[in-house]
Amino acid sequence: MAEFLVKNGFVYDPVLGINGDMVDVAVRNGKMVDASDVGTNATVIDAKGMTVMAAGVDIHAHIAGPKVNVGRNFRPEDKLFNATPGKGVMRMGGGHSVPTVLRTAYTYAKMGYGFALEAAMPPLLARHTHEEMRDTPIIDEGALPVFGNNWFVLEYLKNNEIENTAAYIAWLLRMTKGFGIKNVNPGGTEAWGWGLNCETIHDVVPYFDITPAQIIKGLIEANEYLGLPHCMHMHGNSLGQPGNYGITLETLKLAEGYKPKGDFGRDQVLHNTHLQFHSYGGESYTSKGFASASKEIMNYVNSVDNITFDTGIVTLDETTTMTADGPFEHHLSHMNNLKWVNSDVELETAAGIVPFIYGKNTFIAVAQWAVGVELALMAKDPMRCFITTDAPNAGPLYRYPRVWKWLMSLKARDALLEDAKYGDKVRNACYIGELDKEISLYELAMMTRAGCAKALGLSHMFGSLKPGLEGDVVVYPYNPETADDPELIEQAFGNAHTLIKGGEQIVKDGEIVSNGNKRTFWVNCKTNENAQVQHDISEKFKKYYTVTENNYGVSAHHYTPNPYVIEVDATK
């Protein structure tokens, strides 16, 4: 297999404590090795005047699966004027906020990413998510099945049966080839089956007689009972509602007292995704009624050590929102009166999809932008704060480099607020005006790879250039010593000079030259035999599902032809 030696670059690797030093980086047989361990015929990549990091790791994006494909198929306008023909090894691509799977892969490659986690997989439709991931080249992917409204989970947790919940979760991860536990609007999406919602963590779920708080605590406990690589991945109740930060604080506090278990090296028991949407003060979306509550939230997050989060920063684009939070999307469609798709899934979950325009000349969109940016700037521990746009909910995937620009440059933020019609009002309602922090490249490496890999339980593979890890290296054409224009950040980080993934060169001189060797990650968790759970599964399939139990599981052959299976033993 090929050997690579990346020379003369400014290297940023927080795991190794390398902060912009010029060190050589080497890959052999698909793995990182000491620079002295590659031979003389290694391909030398001259990274002089450029930035070198481990490949990026995305902890939360909606890039494959049923609701993503709804977004594509019901929005022909999203492809207008942006289709690209195939070229070399690349196939044709299209789509702005919801790109085709090919374009998703190329976008990630050009941004220097090697791994991405699809954030919500409806178990019954898992095959669909896997078909799309299989057809997405280059990047490694995994997907989180959703659990927070699943009838088994609701019934077990109502009686606080953690062991049964855990056994069921392990079974479902095997059946769906899933990566971990996603929890979206716990209880609220089941209530949505009747057109209702759970707006606080204490609202009782109709019929099931359990509260979101019980579901959240129960799923944390089940996750740690199993010792999964990743923790419970949380999208809380009342997303997007002004004044919701109190509910968010209550949600986060449910994690108090829990410690991570297992062998995967993470420190957190709860990951709160797209925290921006959950950090609102005030009581309305108007400039008079809205307030950022990022400080309140971050004061708490900074004070504990068992919580991680990603930002979900608004990019001020036209985009497509999509979430398993069915009642939220219904609500959103009533606010903007655009087309609305809803898709409830028997016994398990739901999804809603609505196009959305975050207008730069509206107060609220820019205020939302500010809230997300504030969270990242206020984070004391960059190893627990990850930069996302909850793509495409707060903004399209390809905007990551623009978000990095805002975080790395006060000048860029000021320019945006200057330009925005209600910039001053946003400064008044939010904390953005008080913050002059600029994220360093060292911090960026934590917030986009090292920290994410650790939180996913994958720090033994990704996030660093340490010998023994996967041979995933990116070179960005960015010179930290000379670059002074913030636009260079956006330009450079969206156009990697080189990407090596799994020891294979994917991007060469800015061009995609290989479709790589894509793998699907899933977690095979062994548990003790559990007759009760087996019985319950059979009963539910006989009575309530519309597919048979034998037709539920995702087979390897068609759906995950190149799997990477993480074994977990929870039998002890």
Partner: protein, 437 residues
Amino acid sequence: MSKIVTDVVCPFCGTLCDDLEVSLSDDGKEILEVYNACAIGAAKFLHAQASDRITRPRRRQEDGTWKDISYDEAVDYTAKMFAESKKPLMYGWSSTNCEAQGVGSELGEVVGAVMDNTATVCHGSTLIAVQDVGVPGCTLGEIKNRADRVVFWGCNPAHAHPRHMSRYSIFPRGFFTGKGAKSRKMVVVDPRCTDTAKTADIHLQLEQGRDYELLSAIRVAFRGEKLPDVVAGIPKEKIYEVADTLKEGRFSVIFFGMGVTHSLGKNHNIDIAIAVTRDLNDYTKAAIMPMRGHYNVTGSGQVWGWQFGFPFCVDLTRGFARYNPGETSANDLLMRDEVDSFFSLGSDPGAHFPNESVKKIANLPSVCIDPHITPTTAVCKVHVPVAFVGIEVGGCAYRMDNVPIETRKVVDPPEGMLTDEEFLKKVLDRVREIKEA
């Protein structure tokens, strides 16, 4: 003792029943009996066994008779046809698995084809309506477990989707619908007195082609506004009654079929049917679902969605994907003489397209991939029989509610026969060879 294969998936209609049991001869080679399927589903399995089945490709001679050719020759003919065409039309894609659809997409991209599926003569208008206004939907299990108001509008499941009512929509006892059919009110809207209509609690026998008016009137009734005495042939009292029935349900669902998608108004009928469903969600919970016909027409739209971004009428001829039904739809292209070769797989346009289009096909270089002899094979230059998906080869299919199910292989295909996917892969390889030469 015969062998029984369980959990078999029926590769016929969009109901995609997955509870079939098939008994095989001792040697596992012959299908003896099919249990749980409806008559059409069972017939599909048993027909696969027909003794006069064509098992090798055939090419039409000058004099109109068929001559057997090898698969390699068929691959070569197909690849050359594509290579020599400026604008090939690749049509069908609904009675095959997603694996074949995937390879077909790549082939279409390489040869610069227009790709269209059977939605173009079926639920294409639905797809357009969804692009206009979205769609509140759900999986069929939600209907089974929750729905207490079920509307069939312009569709006749008793004949077209025979097990739909017993598996999902009317008769099953679900979690919140323990009394089965007794927990549900059934409304049928159809100008004909169909067998489905005969079992309904309420049959609105509207005037042909007046669906838009009636749907509009229901929206008026929801709002408690005034209606004329009669709309679309239905007295206003009846309309208020149906509107109230739907509003008072805990979960209402509208299933609709070709009676609305292809009668006067087309996609506008679906727009407003969706608007009715949106309205209902302000009072209760409601969903709407197209009764998709072929067992995997839904999957075809999904595969093209993630590969190209559009569910049908995908024009790849310019090197990137374009979509413009009316311009890039199969029949419009054929009738306007805009395509110079024709490829059919997983459908029977010879039977379903207007005569005018079929005549055009007959004059083009053409290949038809189909296990059966069909009206399409009758007008094509080369006929390539293949293994039956869901019987002789497995693979993924999407039910009408977008639930993907992996179909099963029950028996081997006749010796030496290729599958859709295998044949397409060979053509793709051959096309690449020709292009590189």
